[in-house]
Symmetry: C2
Subunit: 222 residues, 2 copies
């Protein structure tokens, strides 16, 4: 593990907690294709190893705790229901690191998707409360896992809204996003403005249903 502050972007290992889910594998694929060393974490290391076998060469799998320990930048891609418990479990391994939270607290019923209330205000703010010694950044909420995992797709059209309170950490995440062809990382405010970024995913799910799309967003005039 190397310090993220003192290292070239291309030399950083990125961990993906919950890396066997669609979003986690999709991000690992795109970062792997961009030449970034990636370690997938899962509760079950055998599942993480199996998922990594289908991904670029420089992606390997292990358990969540080892993943958090090996990486300098750690993406949290677990289901919302497991978010708090997992972060509490690996808090020590995440000390001093950039933690990129892409978890959407969303519920579903017959009328579609809707945002779940979060006591801390957002998944990102919950992460920040559980990880006071880490640099929490919100990003990657609005990317379609279907598009990320589509081998025929060489570019991902869209912008990634990046929110966070530490400028060096948000800059790093924006640079990481920029390694994926056609994606841009756009700084979009402090962590207290993460809740609506996460919740907007419910709107994009509504868009997908109405238009049979895999919707994302672009910021205009930037």
């Amino acid at each position: 593990m190397t310090s993220w502050q003192a290292t070239e972007l291309s030399a950083l290992t990125v961990g993906v907690l919950g890396g066997t889910g669609d979003q986690g594998r999709g991000l690992a694929l795109r970062l792997g294709l961009a030449g970034v060393p990636v370690v997938l974490g899962s509760r079950d290391p055998a599942r993480a190893q199996a998922a990594a076998a289908d991904l670029p060469e420089d992606v390997h799998g292990t358990d969540n705790r080892s993943c958090a320990g090996e990486a300098s930048v750690v993406v949290v891609a677990v289901p919302w229901q497991g978010h708090a418990a997992l972060l509490a479990e690996v808090a020590a391994e995440l000390t001093g690191k950039v933690v990129v939270d892409c978890v959407n607290p969303i519920g579903f019923d017959k009328q579609g998707a809707y945002p779940l209330p979060v006591a801390e205000g957002s998944a990102c703010q919950q992460a920040a409360a559980l990880l006071p010694a880490s640099y929490v950044v919100g990003a990657f909420h609005h990317l379609s896992a279907v598009q990320l995992l589509d081998p025929a797709r060489e570019e991902i059209e869209g912008d990634v809204l990046v929110v966070g309170d530490d400028r060096a950490a948000t800059d790093l995440v924006q640079s990481l996003v920029g390694l994926i062809p056609r994606l841009r990382g756009i700084y979009a405010g402090r962590l207290r403005n993460a809740g609506q970024v996460e919740a907007l995913t419910a709107n994009l799910i509504s868009v997908n249903r109405r238009y049979k799309a895999h919707a994302g967003i672009r910021v205009t005039d930037v």
Copy 2:
């Protein structure tokens, strides 16, 4: 006043409550340029008349109550602080009409913009609670008033997220948006998903500060 259900889009009069503010005048300008008859409302009818004098011929000004009475589709563009009181005051005039809420409950401090808590969940849901006999639709939250009011700008690049629970009403508002060159109205979910659309304006304000922009959004893959 004609019923919005039984009338061609181009024959509908659109009212703008709070029509002397930047957002209200900007929307009135763009709708007026598209050939839509517009009536601006203000607490002070003389101010509404003065504002209308600078806008296309088919825009005129009056007090808020008359505005709500004359129009079939009424845009609410007042500051959040005056939202509930105004809607309660003109509820009778808005019976049976489409009410298009574009109000953003946003606060500001030294660290920038942030979403204000709303007991009903959002300005749109507050409007729906105060106007049970109207068809409340959320739209026009992310348009830059600077761009709307710029006489050199013939097109507005962006998408308008349209949220609401009545399909005929959201369809009408999408069609209205589509009259403005290059703007699209995209259905983006039910009213319970309005809060994050309103709050996202705080993120766009953060984008504007960082990038010296007048940011809006586009939905990809639609």
